[in-house]
């Protein structure tokens, strides 16, 4: 009885027809990775449940003193400097703990990493505090819409 699918020995060597799609796939994968991924080190947010706002901008993040506004606390370079709940409801415009921490560090630029649900009143207070501490540039960090 003859076999329905006769087994023929494969042709020796690599098949060009199999290599070409592999090269295409790698090329697409490489372009996607370069387009969407960042060479910056992963952000070490002060509170793990912080979700940054989403932006279409693709400007790189500058370096400076980092002020984190998490869901529950304020942090300057990772050190806690106040409660969100307190300063959100407080009538004081200047956040004293953040102000003293910024004064102690010195510099020209503040990088603010705020939780997406942070109210503008608190964000404005932090910005005003940075201004009063003598910082000339304030930058707000957002997650780029181009990221995966």
């Amino acid at each position: 009885m003859s076999r329905l699918f006769p087994q023929e020995p494969p042709a020796p060597g690599l098949a060009v027809a199999a290599l070409a799609p592999m090269v295409d796939l790698f090329t697409i994968l490489l372009v996607v990775l370069i387009r969407t991924w960042s060479t910056d080190p992963p952000m070490d947010l002060a509170e793990a449940d912080t979700a940054l706002p989403l932006s279409r901008s693709e400007a790189p993040v500058g370096t400076g003193v980092i002020v984190d506004i998490g869901p529950s606390g304020l942090y300057v370079d990772g050190a806690r400097a106040g409660s969100v709940a307190y300063h959100q409801s407080s009538d004081e415009v200047l956040v004293a703990e953040v102000h003293s921490a910024l004064l102690a560090r010195g510099g020209r630029r503040v990088v603010v990493r705020a939780h997406a649900d942070t109210p503008w009143t608190l964000l404005g207070k932090v910005m005003f505090t940075a201004q009063q501490a003598g910082y000339e540039e304030v930058e707000l960090v957002a997650a780029s819409a181009a990221s995966l």
């Binding site: 060597g13 690599l14 060009v16 290599l19 070409a20 090269v23 790698f26 090329t27 994968l29 490489l30 990775l33 370069i34 969407t36 991924w37 960042s38 060479t39 910056d40 992963p42 706002p53 989403l54 932006s55 279409r56 901008s57 693709e58 400007a59 790189p60 993040v61 500058g62 506004i69 009538d91 004081e92 415009v93 990088v111 705020a114 939780h115 997406a116 649900d117 942070t118 109210p119 503008w120 009143t121 964000l123 404005g124 207070k125 910005m127 005003f128 201004q131 009063q132 003598g134 910082y135 000339e136 304030v138 930058e139 707000l140 957002a142 997650a143 780029s144 181009a146 990221s147 995966l148």
Partner: protein, 187 residues
């Protein structure tokens, strides 16, 4: 080589063996196998971006803009949407004094806001700055979305320099300095 019927050698021989493409493809595959893991190892999927906030230092003013038909431009978040307040000159922009018309345009949503800003941009293409005044209840996510919207619209670039107006916070709000020099972006 197949000989010419007349016995002459062919100028373009048609029976030459095609070059073997496998070595070239293999080298490309090898390069990709090295490159892709290297990119994966040295990068992260969280791409962050920095939005510069136009804020003057304490006791300082922002640098003035070039004189143009639009002298001041402010977008305020209101209950009904966005209120665009523009000071538009009706006389020669080089004149030291002239009629300044305060135009107030209400935009119910972001596309309408971008349309208003595009018309003002067409009036004064050189102007780059805009003052954005979020509401006290606005969130950081909303502020970033509005900043993106006023920086670029469907028809192109709008106002890349966004000055965030300080938040009106409680009774001490008088202590917050105005982010723009008087007569520059203030309503």
């Amino acid at each position: 080589m197949r000989p010419h019927p007349a016995g002459l050698p062919r100028l373009f021989p048609d029976d030459a063996e095609p070059p073997d493409a496998r070595p070239a493809l293999l080298s490309v595959v090898a390069l990709m196998i090295v490159l892709v893991p290297m990119v994966l190892l040295t990068s992260t999927g969280e791409k962050a971006t920095g939005l510069a906030l136009g804020l003057p230092g304490p006791g300082e003013d922002l640098p003035p803009e070039l004189p143009g038909p639009v002298e001041s431009l402010r977008v305020q978040r209101v209950e009904a949407g966005f209120l665009v307040t523009a000071g538009v000159r009706r006389t020669d922009v080089l004149a030291s004094a002239g009629d300044l018309e305060q135009q107030e345009l209400l935009a119910p949503d972001l596309p309408a806001l971008q349309a208003h800003l595009a018309s003002l941009k067409a009036l004064d293409p050189a102007r780059q700055r805009l003052t954005l005044a979020p509401a006290p209840t606005s969130t950081a996510e909303q502020v970033v979305t509005w900043m993106d919207a006023v920086r670029a619209g469907p028809q192109g670039e709008l106002y890349p320099q966004v000055v965030l107006e300080a938040a009106q916070v409680g009774p001490a709000s008088d202590a917050v300095p105005a982010p723009a020099p008087p007569g520059e972006d203030a309503p």
